[in-house]
Amino acid sequence: MKSLKAIWTPVYDSLRDLLPIIVVIGFFQLAVLQQPIPNFGEIAIGILFVVIGLTLFVQGLNMGLFPIGENMAYAFASKGSIFWLLCFAFALGFGTTIAEPALIAVAKEAAIVAANGEMIANNEQAMDAYAQGLRVTVAVSVGFAIVLGVFRIVKGWAIQYLIVVGYAGVVIMTFFAPREIIGIAYDSGGVTTSTITVPLVTALGVGLASSIKGRNPMVDGFGLIAFASLTPMIFVMAYGMVV
């Protein structure tokens, strides 16, 4: 009985998380567009998959991603080498972003926009090179962001001052960047942080803040993701100006 409950509770939680989406799509399909739901069977299987997936993900989060992020944070704090900590931060930011599928998609579309706007030659080679350059730019900017964020936790700076500087950077760059790139640059901030990066980076930040004396995990531990969504905007606009 108890083991049944142990399985049912997380599944029930995942089901509840999905319910709003199912209701929204069902309502708009049936009541607003007034159309039947196509391939009902396939959709039911798909929803079952999503529920299974979400359940497994949350289990794995608590067993794998959170502990390893915190372990690394403690290990770096006890080793006391800021240099290697920052190297790790950069590698984590760069490595997780360069392979991010959402970013690859956005970079491709950005290349089309750039070709249409006659910023680059309208051929495949130039567009590929542009997309590749954009991906590296965003990945470097996320690496830089995590380095900055980790350094902030170590030093205990208040996050809002750095964010103000970042916002000012975005606003200033907006005035100088080509108009075509602005929408993409703003969006690139949101797409860089994937489902695996977020828990890992959050655990790293919280772990660091709880193992460094005088830091409060709540005040200082969060904020890494915030930098990772801010710097790509600035870097992508700079990329649009240079290329």
């Binding site: 798909g46 289990q59 490595g95 709540m218």
Partner: protein, 260 residues
């Protein structure tokens, strides 16, 4: 059924490729720099396997069930013929798009509730704050922010006003809120902007933006189709800060009520 299973297999392989750089970095640093064995290695590895399988199932399920329908719906709802209804086409005003705004709001809210990375941050924030930040409170606050953001972003595409006006005024608003918000919540609120837009939200919202930008007269999908994600990452910051201010104010009031 068999093709769902073979798709699932490919999605899991693709997810392994995405995770590979992370695994290499973690274990590389662990082995060569830290030179310490990882405690509970077995448990952590099985956790990674669960995350991989979970993401595989999750993405394949979305792709099989919700995305095709959601994309189709975004197209149909933004179709001028549907929006115009009985009216003659060509005289559409921004207020004729009410179903699109409502859909954008509902879609933003519901996809955010299902977003795994937001759930991860909410769990962590709940642990770290010793329960004073509720998992559901944070998630609902973020979801409301995303909903408002996407609805407003859709309005921007319909009216064709420049994106940066909204974003810059949003920044000013966030900074003003920061001055009055409880210090504990600030970093978390800034984070919640970035975590909301990921596996579930981005594909559906992008479809909505592109659909709208290609059907509204005078909009260029390449220029105006972007920007919804930016709205969806900015507005949760405001809603989370507002949520914290509201709960602090409430706590202060009940404290006062007790004292008198």
């Amino acid at each position: 059924m068999p093709h769902i299973l073979s798709d699932l297999f490919f999605v899991i392989i693709a997810t392994i490729w995405d995770v590979l750089p992370i695994v290499v970095i973690i274990f590389g640093f662990q082995l060569f720099i830290l030179r310490k064995p990882i405690p509970n290695l077995k448990r952590i590895l099985s956790g990674f396997v669960l995350v991989l399988l979970g993401l595989g199932f999750f993405l394949e399920g979305l792709e099989a069930a919700l995305f095709p329908l959601g994309r189709l719906m975004a197209q149909q709802l933004t179709d001028p013929a549907f929006i115009a209804g009985d009216k003659a086409a060509g005289v559409l005003r921004w207020s004729d798009y009410y179903w699109v705004y409502l859909f954008a709001f509902a879609l933003g809210f519901s996809t955010t509730i299902a977003e795994p990375s937001l759930l991860a941050v909410a769990i962590k924030a709940n642990q770290v704050s010793a329960g004073s930040i509720g998992i559901w409170g944070l998630r609902i606050a973020v979801a409301i922010g995303v909903a408002i953001g996407i609805a407003l972003g859709v309005y921007r595409i319909v009216t064709g006003t420049p994106l940066y006006w909204y974003i810059i005024s949003g920044y000013v608003f966030v900074l003003i809120q920061t001055m009055f918000a409880p210090r504990m919540i600030i970093a978390l609120a800034y984070d919640s902007g970035g975590v909301t837009t990921s596996t579930v939200t981005v594909p559906l919202v992008a479809a909505l933006g592109l659909g709208l930008a290609s059907t509204v007269p005078g909009r260029n999908p390449l220029l105006d189709g972007f920007g919804l994600i930016a709205f969806a990452s900015l507005f949760p910051i405001m809603s989370v800060l507002a949520y914290a201010q509201l709960s602090e104010w409430q706590a202060g009031r009940s404290k006062k009520a007790k004292q008198t």
